[in-house]
C-alpha cells in the first residue's frame, strides 16, 4: 500500500517535472515567437531602376522603342483605358501612365497621346488634346540588390489582396483557418487517414506553414512537428488572424526566376500576370494559390497542364465551400491561365551594370541596408543602349571566333557607353555573355591601352600653340630612346615602316609610333602623364617613355572617363551610374549631382577633338565611314597592343561616348587589330542608336583656316582637297600654299572675315 503510494508520488513528481519542462519550453518558444514575429521585418532588396523616358516634342526616339519599353515595364495593349494601358497605331501611341513615385515625388496616372514622325516625337498631348510639355514614363525595373537567398518580394497589405484570393487560399490550404487555434485536429486526422490510403496531404494549417517558413529548418522530424504545433498555437494567442494571414501572403514562396526567389502574392502577381495584386481575377488568384503547394511542380510557364488542373481544383474547392457561385466558377474555370510571357531576369538582366551601381553605393551605404531596406535606386541605365551594346558585342565576337577557329575559351570583350556631357553611364557590358554575373571586364579588367593614350600626347603638344599646331611637321623617322639602367627603346610602326616628316594631325590619324614617341619625349613624359591625371585617371602611372605608347593598364571604364573629358570640351564630369536614391516610401536620401571641372583649357580640347575626327575621316578609323553617316563627325581612336593581345576603340558623337575592348582573358595574342575588331563593335552600337552630330562649341580663341594638305600652308578655293582646320588664334601658318592665289588676300579670306565679324555682331 505504502509502496503504491510512493510510486504514485514519484509519478506525480515526474508529471510535475514534465509539465515544468514543457512550460519552460513553451515559454522559450513564446519568447521566440513574440520576439521574432514582432521584430521581424521582411528583408526587402534595393530596387534598381533604369532612366525614365521623358517624352517631349523633338525627342529622338523611335515609336517601336517606346512601345518595347512600355511592354517591358508591363504595360499592355487592350480595350480598357486604365493605368498601364497603351494602344499603338500608325505614327502614334496612346497610353495611360501608372502612378509612380519618382525621386522628386509621386506622379499621378495620366493619359497622353504621343505622335511620331521619322524617328522623332512630334507632339505630346493630354486627354483634352492640350499640349503636354514633358511626359515622364515609369522607369524599367532592372534588378536589385538582394538579401540572402536572393529573396525578392513586394509587400502588400491585406486590404489590397482580393477577397477571392484569400477565400481560395483558405478553401484549399486550411478550410478551418478562421475558426481553429493554430492547429486543426480534423485536418490532421484527414491527412493521417489519406496518407494511410496512399494520398498525401499536408494537414498543416496556414499558421503552421508560416511558423515553418519563419522559424524552423526544413527537416521533418516528430520533434520539429511538435515545436511547430506549439509555436502555431502561441502565434494564434498573440496575434489576430488578419495579421497572420497578411504575413503569410507576403512570406509565401511562389516561384523562381533564375537565381531570384519570388516571394509573396504582391511580387507573384507582377511576375506571372504583370499586374498589381488587387487586379487579379478569381482564376488568376486561384493559380497563385495552386502554386503554394509547389511552385516548381505547378509552374504555369513550364507545366501548363498540371498547373491548370490544380488551379481548377482550387476553384472547385472554393465553389464547394460557397465562396464562388456556380456561374463565377464556370467563368473562372474556362479562363485561360493568363500568364504573361516574361523573359527570365534573375537578380538582374544587366548584372554588369548592377555591379557598378553597387560599387558606387557601397561608398555611402552599408551592404546590409542595401540588401534589406528596400531602397529605390534610380540609375542612368538606358535599356536601348544597353541592348544595342550587348548585341553588337556578342554578334561580332561570335564572328571573330568563327573566323579564327581558336577554339574555347572564346574571345572576350567589354563595352562602356556614356553621355559625355552629363557623365552618365548609359550601358555597361562586362563580357560576351551579358547575363553572367562574374568577372566584370568593363570595370575590373586592367589591360594595356596601346594607342588610346596617343591623343593625350598630342593634346599636351597642342597646349603649346606657339610650338605645335595640327599642321606642324613632325618626324616619323627611326627613334631610339636611351635611359640609364634600361635597354634602349626603339618603337616600331604598325606597318614596320617609317614615314619621314608628316603633319602632326596625320601622325595621330595614322597612329605612328615613332613620331608619337619623339613628340612625347620632346614635350616631356611628365607633362603627358600630368594630363592623363587631369583627364580623370587616378591610378599611378609609371613615368617611362614607353607609357606614351600605351604601356599602361586601364579598365574600359577608366578609358571612358579619360575620353569623356576630351569629348566634353575639356570639362571633366565624373562618370556616374546613379542619379538618386530614395527610401522604400519615396523619401529622398541622396542625389548624385552633376559636377564639372575644367581640366583642360577649351582650345586644346577643341583641337584634339578635331584631330580625332581626322582619325575617322582619313586615318585608322576610316572603316567607320562605311558603317555610319559622315555627317556625325565622329572623333575616335583605335588601340592595338603588342602582338594584338588587346584591341580597343574609343570614340564619340555629339551625345554619346563609347569604349570597346576586345581580347582574351588569358592574354593570348588575339591577332586582331583595334580597327578590325573593336571598331566594328563600336560602329554597330552607334548604328543601332540615334546620335547627335559632333560639333563642339568653338572657343573664342579658335579660328578656322583653309589649309592645303600638301604643303600645310594657307589655301584658298583654288586648292584641290583643301581642308578647313582649327587653330589657336595667331598660331595658323602665315605662308601661302603654291596653289593659293598670288594676291595678298584671297576671296576665301574676305568671306571668312566678313562671316566672323557678323558672328561677333549677332551671336551664333
Amino acid at each position: 500500500m505504502a509502496r503504491r503510494r510512493r510510486i504514485l508520488r514519484y509519478f506525480r513528481y515526474a508529471l510535475l517535472a514534465g509539465v515544468a519542462v514543457f512550460l519552460a519550453f513553451a515559454l522559450y518558444l513564446d519568447l521566440r515567437v513574440t520576439g521574432e514575429f514582432e521584430g521581424r521585418r521582411f528583408s526587402l532588396p534595393a530596387r534598381i531602376y533604369a532612366r525614365p523616358i521623358e517624352l517631349h516634342a523633338g525627342l529622338r526616339i523611335r515609336q517601336a522603342d517606346v512601345e518595347e519599353e512600355l511592354r517591358l515595364v508591363g504595360y499592355q495593349q487592350g480595350e480598357r483605358e486604365t493605368p498601364g494601358w497603351f494602344l499603338s497605331q500608325k505614327n502614334q501611341v496612346e497610353l495611360v501612365t501608372r502612378p509612380f513615385t519618382f525621386w522628386d515625388g509621386p506622379q499621378p496616372a495620366r493619359r497622353v497621346k504621343v505622335e511620331f514622325d521619322a524617328g522623332s516625337v512630334t507632339s505630346v498631348t493630354d486627354a483634352e488634346g492640350k499640349q503636354v510639355a514633358l511626359a515622364r514614363l515609369e522607369p524599367l525595373h532592372v534588378g536589385g540588390i538582394y538579401p540572402a537567398g536572393n529573396e525578392d518580394r513586394l509587400l502588400v497589405r491585406l486590404p489590397e489582396v482580393p477577397r477571392h484570393l484569400v477565400q481560395e487560399l483558405v478553401a484549399i490550404e486550411d478550410r478551418n483557418f478562421f475558426s481553429h487555434h493554430g492547429f486543426d485536429p480534423r485536418a490532421l486526422a484527414r491527412a493521417a487517414f489519406r496518407s494511410v490510403t496512399g494520398r498525401t496531404e499536408g494537414g498543416s494549417t496556414i499558421t503552421q506553414q508560416l511558423v515553418k517558413n519563419f522559424f524552423l529548418t526544413p527537416e521533418r522530424t516528430l520533434k520539429r512537428k511538435f515545436t511547430e504545433l506549439v509555436m502555431a498555437v502561441l502565434l494564434e494567442i498573440h496575434y489576430g488572424k488578419e495579421e497572420i494571414l497578411e504575413t503569410y501572403l507576403n512570406e509565401i514562396y511562389l516561384g523562381q526566376d533564375r537565381d531570384r526567389a519570388i516571394h509573396g502574392v504582391g511580387l507573384a502577381a507582377q511576375f506571372y500576370f504583370g499586374k498589381e495584386v488587387q487586379h487579379l481575377s478569381a482564376a488568376e488568384s486561384a493559380l497563385l494559390v495552386a502554386m503554394v503547394k509547389g511552385p516548381a511542380v505547378y509552374d504555369p510557364r513550364r507545366h501548363a497542364a498540371r498547373a491548370l488542373e490544380r488551379r481548377n481544383l482550387v476553384l472547385h474547392e472554393a465553389k464547394e465551400q460557397g465562396f464562388l457561385t456556380t456561374e463565377q466558377y464556370s467563368v473562372a474555370r474556362s479562363a485561360p491561365l493568363g500568364v504573361v510571357p516574361k523573359p527570365a531576369m534573375g537578380t538582374s538582366p544587366y548584372p554588369g551594370f548592377v555591379q557598378l551601381v553597387v560599387r558606387q553605393l557601397r561608398r555611402d551605404y552599408d551592404e546590409k541596408d542595401l540588401r534589406s531596406e528596400g531602397l529605390r535606386i534610380f540609375t542612368a541605365l538606358d535599356p536601348r543602349v544597353q541592348n544595342a551594346a550587348e548585341h553588337a558585342l556578342a554578334n561580332r565576337l561570335a564572328q571573330y571566333d568563327k573566323d579564327k577557329r581558336f577554339g574555347p575559351p572564346g574571345i572576350e570583350g567589354a563595352v562602356v557607353v556614356a553621355d559625355p556631357q552629363s557623365g552618365e553611364v548609359q550601358a555597361l557590358v562586362a563580357g560576351r555573355d551579358p547575363r553572367y554575373q562574374g568577372f566584370n571586364r568593363a570595370v575590373d579588367a586592367a589591360r594595356p591601352v596601346g594607342s588610346l593614350l596617343k591623343p593625350v600626347v598630342y593634346l599636351t603638344a597642342l597646349q603649346e600653340p606657339a610650338k605645335y599646331t595640327l599642321v606642324t611637321p613632325i618626324d616619323d623617322g627611326p627613334f631610339v630612346w636611351k635611359s640609364r639602367g634600361a635597354p634602349d627603346w626603339e618603337p616600331q610602326n604598325y606597318d614596320k615602316k617609317f614615314h619621314g616628316i608628316v603633319p602632326l594631325r596625320t601622325a595621330l590619324a595614322q597612329s605612328y609610333n615613332a613620331a608619337t614617341a619623339r613628340l612625347g619625349t620632346d614635350i616631356g613624359v611628365d607633362k603627358v602623364l600630368d594630363n592623363v591625371r587631369r583627364l580623370g585617371i587616378e591610378r599611378p602611372l609609371r613615368p617611362f617613355a614607353s607609357t606614351l605608347l600605351g604601356a599602361v593598364e586601364l579598365s574600359p571604364l577608366e578609358v571612358a572617363q579619360m575620353y569623356q573629358t576630351m569629348a566634353n570640351g575639356g570639362f571633366k564630369t565624373p562618370l556616374r551610374a546613379i542619379r538618386e536614391v530614395t527610401t522604400q516610401e519615396g523619401r529622398p536620401l541622396a542625389r548624385y549631382a552633376l559636377r564639372v571641372e575644367q581640366a583642360i583649357a577649351p582650345e586644346p580640347a577643341y583641337l584634339i577633338t578635331a584631330a580625332m575626327q581626322g582619325v575617322v575621316r582619313e586615318g585608322t578609323g576610316q572603316a567607320l565611314k562605311t558603317m555610319l553617316p559622315p555627317e556625325l563627325g565622329i572623333a575616335g581612336k583605335t588601340g592595338t597592343t603588342d602582338e594584338q593581345r588587346d584591341a580597343w576603340f574609343a570614340g564619340f558623337t555629339g551625345d554619346r561616348l563609347a569604349v570597346v575592348w576586345v581580347g582574351y582573358d588569358d592574354n593570348r595574342a588575339a591577332k586582331l587589330s583595334g580597327s578590325a575588331s573593336a571598331l566594328p563593335v563600336w560602329g554597330d552600337i552607334m548604328a543601332a542608336l540615334p546620335s547627335e552630330p559632333l560639333s563642339l562649341a568653338k572657343p573664342d580663341n579658335i579660328e578656322n583656316v583653309l589649309i592645303d594638305p600638301q604643303s600645310g600652308l594657307r589655301a584658298d578655293g583654288s586648292c584641290p582637297g583643301a581642308l578647313e582646320l582649327p587653330f589657336a588664334s595667331g598660331s595658323a601658318p602665315a605662308g601661302r600654299a603654291p596653289c593659293a592665289s598670288e594676291l595678298g588676300v584671297t576671296v576665301q579670306e574676305v568671306k571668312q572675315k566678313a562671316k566672323s565679324w557678323l558672328e561677333r555682331l549677332f551671336g551664333r
Binding site: E54, H56, A57, G58, L59, F102, W103, D104, G105, P106, Q107, P108, K130, Q131, V132, A133, L134, R136, D419, Q421, S422, E424, G569, F571, E580, R587, P588, R591, A593, L594, R595, V596, E597, Q598, P602, D655, A697, P699, E759, R760, L761, F762, G763, R764
Partner: protein, 126 residues
Amino acid sequence: MRRYLLIALLAGCATRQEPAPEAPATPPVPEAPAIRENVAIAGLMQSARDDAAAGRLVQAAATLERALRIEPRNPRLWNELARVRLRQGDNAQAAQLAARSNSFAGGDAQLRAANQAIIEQARTQP
C-alpha cells in the same frame, strides 16, 4: 496663359519633399531672361526657378539637371545651375558651371556678363 498651364502641369508631376534646409543668404546674381524655344525646357526652367525662389535648392538643381539631359548645350541652363550652386555655397562648382555656360554662350554678351558675375562672386564670397 499657356505658360501658367505648363507650370501647373509640371507642378502636378511632382509633389515634393525637400531634404535638409539650406540656402545661405547671398546677394542675388542677375537672372538671365527665360527662354522660350522648347516648351519642355521652358517648363522645367520655370519649375526650377519656383523651387529656387522657395529655397528648395536641391530640387531646383535636380530639375535643371533633368533639363540639361534634354538640352546639354543650353547655356542658360548651365547658368541657372551655377546660380543655384552659388546659393548653396558651393562656390567652386558655381564657377565651373558658369565657365561651362560661357563655353556655349557664343555671342550672348548678357549671359556672359551674368556668368562672369557668378565667377567673381564665387571668388569673393566666403
